[in-house]
Amino acid sequence: MRLMLIAVLQVVLTSLVTYYFVTKEYSDLSNESLITLEKFLIDQKKQELKNYTALATSSVDHLYLRSVPDNKAIKGVVAQIFDGLLYNGEDGYFFVYDGEGTNISHPKEPFRIGKNYWELEDESGEKIIQILLNNAKNGGGFYRYPWLKPSLEESSDKLGYSIYLEKWDWMIGTGVYLDDVYAQLSQLQNEMNRHTSKTKQIILVVAISSIFMIFLFGLIVNLNQKKRNDLKINQLGQRIITLQEDERRHFSRELHDGIVQILISIKYSLEATGRYIGKANIQKPEQLNKAEGNLKTAIQEIRRISHHLHPRILDELGLTAALEALASEFTERTAVNINIVKPAVRKLLPDNINTTLYRVVQEALTNIEKHAKATEVAITFEFQNNWLTLNISDNGCGFNQEEKYEQPAQGIGLRNLAERIEYHSGRFTVTSNSSGTNIEVMIPKSSFANHFNKTSFEAQK
């Protein structure tokens, strides 16, 4: 889980950093290209203006060069020629002012002719005509100022170019409107912005899908881990149970075949002692009788404990004999008869399966005795179709399966038994209703095949 959070954080950080640098790079790049493009376009316009102006002047050169400075007639002809020189549709025209700022020719705004515009200012207070005149006198120059654009009939930025006809004290000017340059630039800007936002989206999508993938991956890993853990826990549980059963078997054997045998030998020694002093015609002392009696009790007690820990009959004679002993004990206690069907062969199963099946029957009989109020019990134990089947059924009142599964009042509990059976690759089914309970255990032959061969058979070879 923590690993997942770290991974998500990593993705978020990477995305943010990428986003920051990419957008910064884009905006730097777009500013640079805007400036470059503007410069290029303006330069182009300037060259254009120079060319047009050169063309215009050369078209009047023949008149201008030959005339005297104050030939009003020629001046009038020239002004008329300029009036007629148009380019770029309506927006390219030439205007003429004299040295004092009086308009001499203006094809688009003829009302200006004859009026003085020395003091004409734009919005920022620049005196337009004076600057144009100044540029012209300095050998021709460019000036940007707002002016009415004929095709739009509204004011627009205009790049003006003016030259000076010294002999006449005239300033000839023309200009291009820059709104289309601006439009081009803003189009580029928009393009750039669109790219930037597209990149933003891509980064966002990649980041979100990465986070989603991380969560998905984490979920899968978690589920796998859980599955593995469950398996491990189950195996561990079975190992503990196996160890416990081994331990019980061991103690049982130690008590029954160790301690009890020693006590038996003491018993015979006491008997021999009694016989010895009897031979000497001495009355057998009361203490010796008492000791013999106590010893008998001790032997019985230890045998009872040993049997409780683990029935020795299971190891010595196998499961069927052990089940028969269990059944006759049950019948003796409860007076309920048990009908057993069993195979004629024995010692077929390994110790751990033997013990598990024995515990199943033991638990089933305990339940029957405590709750079922049954009058008949049947145990069927048979081998067929590659399965060992052990079935315990009664005609009692049944029980609530859920309850019984979850909270065994005493004993091992059916759930534990089911897990133990599954550990041997077997199946465990319990069905219970008001007319009785049926517990069925099935173990595949592969779990016990050839066991007899490996043990008893080998011993007799």
């Binding site: 038996i264 008998k296 069927t320 028969e324 007899f452």
Partner: protein, 216 residues
């Protein structure tokens, strides 16, 4: 203290118990009787088999729970090979399943280790004469759970023979394998057929496969 003065030959007894202390205690008790003699003692079924074959005692006093080979399995083999030797099972186990298994294996008597040495002596004498003897508590359990042929189980020996047969060996080959007579093997085969209620060899083999005795 001669209880049986008319007998001119002592009854030879082989003691089989995995606990030396029990052997000692029992030997001490039996030493008071002149007409029986403990000729040897051993601690497991396998040794008992060897000792019985070499000494051919009249009676074997045989414990059940022992390492390597238990007393019941040893009893079966010994009665197969030397039927004249009588076997008295001498065990802590009192449930009827042990008793019936012992009888099926060929034991002549069954007494509890919890009994007195007088009873041990008496039992040895009785079975040496060719009769049977059971402790009173054990006799009771036998009456409650009589041996019925229809639910008789195969003995370990019979199961071994069944396994050999299912593996494809003939009676002669089984006799050679187990070092017993052909007639004994045939007798076992008859017993197996009766107990399983199976006539044909094919069915015997199928039974063995079904119960995991041999691979299919």
């Amino acid at each position: 203290m001669t209880l049986n003065a008319t007998s001119n030959r002592k009854i030879s007894v082989l003691l089989v118990d995995d606990h030396p202390m029990v052997q000692d205690g029992l030997t001490a008790c039996l030493s008071y009787y002149d007409d029986i003699q403990v000729v040897a003692a051993c601690t497991n079924g396998k040794d008992a088999l060897d000792k019985a074959l070499s000494l051919k005692p009249d009676v074997i006093l045989m414990d059940v729970s022992m390492p390597i080979m238990n007393g019941i399995d040893a009893t079966e083999i010994i009665t197969d090979k030397i039927p004249d030797t009588k076997i008295l099972i001498f065990s802590m186990h009192e449930s009827s399943e042990f008793v019936t298994s012992s009888i099926q294996a060929g034991a002549s008597g069954y007494i509890s280790k919890d009994t007195t040495s007088e009873e041990v002596y008496f039992a040895i004498k009785t079975i040496a004469e060719g009769k049977t003897h059971f402790s009173s508590s054990i006799a009771m359990s036998l009456i409650e759970n009589p041996i019925r042929s229809e639910n008789e189980k195969l003995t370990t020996r019979e199961q071994v023979i069944l396994t050999w047969i299912a593996k494809g060996l003939s009676s002669k080959e089984v006799a050679r394998k187990l070092n017993i007579s052909y007639r004994t093997v045939e007798a076992h085969r008859r017993n197996i057929r009766t107990k399983l209620n199976i006539e044909s060899l094919a069915e015997l083999v199928r039974y063995a496969v079904n119960h995991g005795l041999v691979d299919s």
